[in-house]
Amino acid sequence: MSTLPSAHPKERRIIFGNVSEPNYAPDLETYLKHGGYNEAKKAFTMKPDEIIAEVKAANLRGRGGAAFPTGVKWGFIRRDDGKPHYLCVNGDESEPGTFKDRIILHQDPHQLLEGIIITCFTLNIHLAYIYIRCEFTHAKAILEKAIEEAKARGFLGKNIFGQGFDLDVYVHEGGGAYICGEETSLLESIEGKRPYPRIKPPYFPAVLGLYMAPTIVNNVETICHVKHILRLGSAEYAKMGTAGDGGTRIMCVSGDVMRPGTYELPVGAVTMGELIFDICGGLKPGRSLKAIIPGGSSSKVLRADEVFKIKKPGPDGAMVEQETKLLDIVLDAASVAAAGSMIGSAAVIVMDDSRNMVWALNNLNQFYAHESCGQCTPCREGVLWMSKISTRMLAGGGHENDPKMLHTVADNIAGRTICAFGEAASWPTQSFTEKFAEEFAAAAGKN
């Protein structure tokens, strides 16, 4: 795996702090030399409610895609309800464009374990699973070695840190299915069943989760942030971000830029333009920007010349609507949402003017057609129809009506399925055909 280049001045590496150190190794001794497990020890001196209040005040939002406030999610667990509670860490990392968790899992496993310990103590959890995609073939052994080391030191297992608290952590490997990143599918997968997402309500596994007990499902990066909230204090942590969206977020940039990679940036510290041109070195020579997918393949594509109406604080502090160009969008959850897309898993895919949008959409349609679990009819059938239509358009056999047909099929999937895969699969088709209508019309008229 590639090592991280030296940090850009705008970066603030908290989660990637350790792995940026020369010769950092994933073993326990190295982690301890870097302040490892200090916050886990500190957590046991705090009251669980205090820790939840800190996570809430830190404005930590989930880093897996939905950007749900972590402290609020944790607040759904009633610590003393007498039921068993579980933690499932989502390391399925499968959203196209996303490649941050793999670095933590392979290079700094103890950071994740420390986050797990703090979370489990806070929510009275004694059994946790780390769900990783099986394509991370070496991560399982690395994590299991880290778990053994922590156990030998009394940080995991029985009576951890001598505090009379028991905690077992196990690694659970998936089977190469994107749908298992959906939290209720992930739970079914751990239960050994066909991983069909569960019918909602209940909307939160915190009500009914693993083995029908209250369960928290958090992304790998999210869990790692918890340590740093306790280390820095919620005020300093929140201050790094924007209102309601605290800390740092690891941006994963891929596609047509000079320096693709992962960049850990304070939330809202840079605009899309600064990310692409200052940090990622801009586009390839002689190329101009065509489109950006801002938050993983499921987020709606943004066109280079689009102008958005986004609310920003004015001179008197009141929120004023301002016309904002694509490259001037501030990278926080609220601003990207105001531009009609989402920050999602912070996976930015950049496309320059050499790219054919029908080809790009077809690539994504084939992805969703392959990954639909098949449980709900609109999705199971619709994603395949969309894939067939974009394939025939690309092959030059498109019908005049195809762009409209694509959009209609997408419209009939979104909102009509058990899980958010329906939206994830529809948004690319809806946004590509709307924003690049001329290109789709040209491809469609060839028959």
Partner: protein, 176 residues
């Protein structure tokens, strides 16, 4: 009867070594609430050892976890990672999804297929596309979560980043 016996291939479940059995027993202990949760881990252990999961494997895992065989079969067929027929000695998985495709993964897949003698247009509904000499399987897979170093592929258990056409000759030579 005699004829049937001679035609029956040696089943995987009749050849479980003690080391594999030990790992299986250990995996089951990771799921104190429900044995059924050990289904995926057992399937991984089985496939890692035998290369694929045959019918006897499905039945054996099901019996071990006190399930009907369908409970295992329905997940073996659901997950792309698992297979019911033998793959080539070296499995190459090429990432097909957008960032890798933009960096040339379709060309990479074609060239790998050509270099190993595999029909690149073949689907994999009935096992992995495998070279006639049984040395290689090459398949397209969805996003491998390494989009910043596209195009990428996995060779058996190892990720290979920024693969160039020149690397293909080396890869094929190393694993032939």
């Amino acid at each position: 009867m005699g004829l049937i016996m001679t035609l029956t291939p040696v089943t995987q479940s009749s050849q479980i070594p003690p080391a594999l059995l030990e790992k299986i027993e250990e995996a089951i202990t990771h799921y104190p609430v429900s044995k059924r949760s050990a289904a995926l881990p057992l399937m991984h252990l089985w496939q890692n050892h035998f290369g694929y999961i045959d019918e006897s494997g499905i039945e054996w895992i099901a019996a071990k976890l006190e399930l009907q065989p369908i409970a295992i079969l329905e997940i073996v067929t659901f997950y792309p990672w698992f297979r019911q027929t033998a793959p080539g000695k070296t499995i190459i998985r090429v990432c097909r999804t957008l960032s890798c495709a933009m960096a040339g993964s379709y060309e990479l897949h074609d060239q790998l297929c050509k270099a190993t003698g595999i029909d690149s247009a073949a689907g994999h509904d009935h096992g992995l596309p495998t070279s006639p000499d049984g040395k290689f399987s090459v398949e397209f897979v969805e996003c491998l979560a390494s989009c910043g170093t596209a195009p990428v592929c996995m060779i058996n258990n190892d990720l290979v980043e920024k693969v160039t056409p020149a690397d293909i000759t080396t890869i094929v030579a190393q694993h032939s």
